[in-house]
Symmetry: C2
């Protein structure tokens, strides 16, 4: 259990990750840029400027049960693995209809109907993942998810995305940008 | 359903509310000040300076079920009622042990064991209430709750607080400051 960490994804001319492509899955895209830097701002320093900067904070899990959390913890690996030369940043916004739902309704759609946690678990430890929340920060997206995986696991990552995007939960996604990166 | 609103509580020499007392219930207190202003910062303008400033954001409810949300909506009244000359601001922080719990464990403690939502409901519409989240913002507290009530409902408000503070949920509160105010 760690404190929430504020993280900024700064697109610009330099950075540890080279942006391969930016693709709008739903709604408006983001401007083109060459590179991306992931900046840990747990000191709440000033927001770094870039071609664009998206910020979010890691937080407590909002839906995961104790049983699921234990299963995830037993299977997942962290970010920064030597073999993880591929990354994806997927900023996402959900509709007002989603946010008007109560906790039990959101949980039912996420897991009972969409198997979001179960699907993600299937691709562990290959696809490492960190979720950042930003709806409460006045940001243009609600969530920023950062994924890291090896080149050989790239097909598995595509399958994971395809399965999630086919769920009932994704009917509530009204903006989604898919950004792919290679470690420099 | 409205967008999250960033709100700052600014203590200083002027403000719409006169601070009557500041009392530390658990952990460190806050510095004395004469007055308090409640500043709507949904435009994400710069943080107002004061003797102290606490900021948080309204957000989606994290535990309330659809049935509970409907019951609350049918009974509660908004802030700013003419008769609500009394207010309380209660900044609160929960322990690392709390935040290490999964969603189902936190929900079980909040409602199945502590009846937090049911207790709050009992004092509606007398005690109007707005919850602001701030754990993810690098603030010193996790929540800021703002209450408004009439002078004649002040005893009911004391009873509400006493009942909540006696719950199992409150065993996870490691800092709580109770600030009472009168409308100027």
């Amino acid at each position: 259990m760690t404190l929430p960490t504020l993280v900024s994804f700064v697109a610009g001319r330099t950075g540890s990750w080279r942006i391969e492509r930016i693709h709008a899955v739903a709604g408006e895209s983001l401007p083109a840029a060459d590179s991306l830097e992931v900046v840990d701002r747990r000191d709440h320093s000033a927001t770094p400027q870039g071609v664009w900067t998206l910020s979010g904070t890691t937080s407590n899990a909002r839906y995961t049960t104790q049983v699921e959390a234990a299963a995830l913890a037993g299977k997942q690996e962290g970010l920064g693995r030597a073999g993880s030369t591929c990354a994806a940043l997927i900023p996402m916004r959900k509709s007002p209809k989603w946010w008007a739902l109560a906790q039990d309704q959101r949980r039912e759609i996420i897991e009972a109907k969409s198997r979001h946690i179960e699907i993600g678990m299937h691709y562990l430890p290959a696809v490492a993942r960190r979720l950042h929340h930003c709806r409460d920060m006045g940001e243009p997206f609600d969530f920023l998810t950062w994924f890291e995986y090896s080149a050989s696991d790239a097909p598995a990552f595509e399958e994971l995305l395809a399965r999630l995007r086919a769920t009932e939960e994704w009917q509530y996604v009204d903006r989604e940008v898919d950004i792919r990166l290679q470690r420099v």
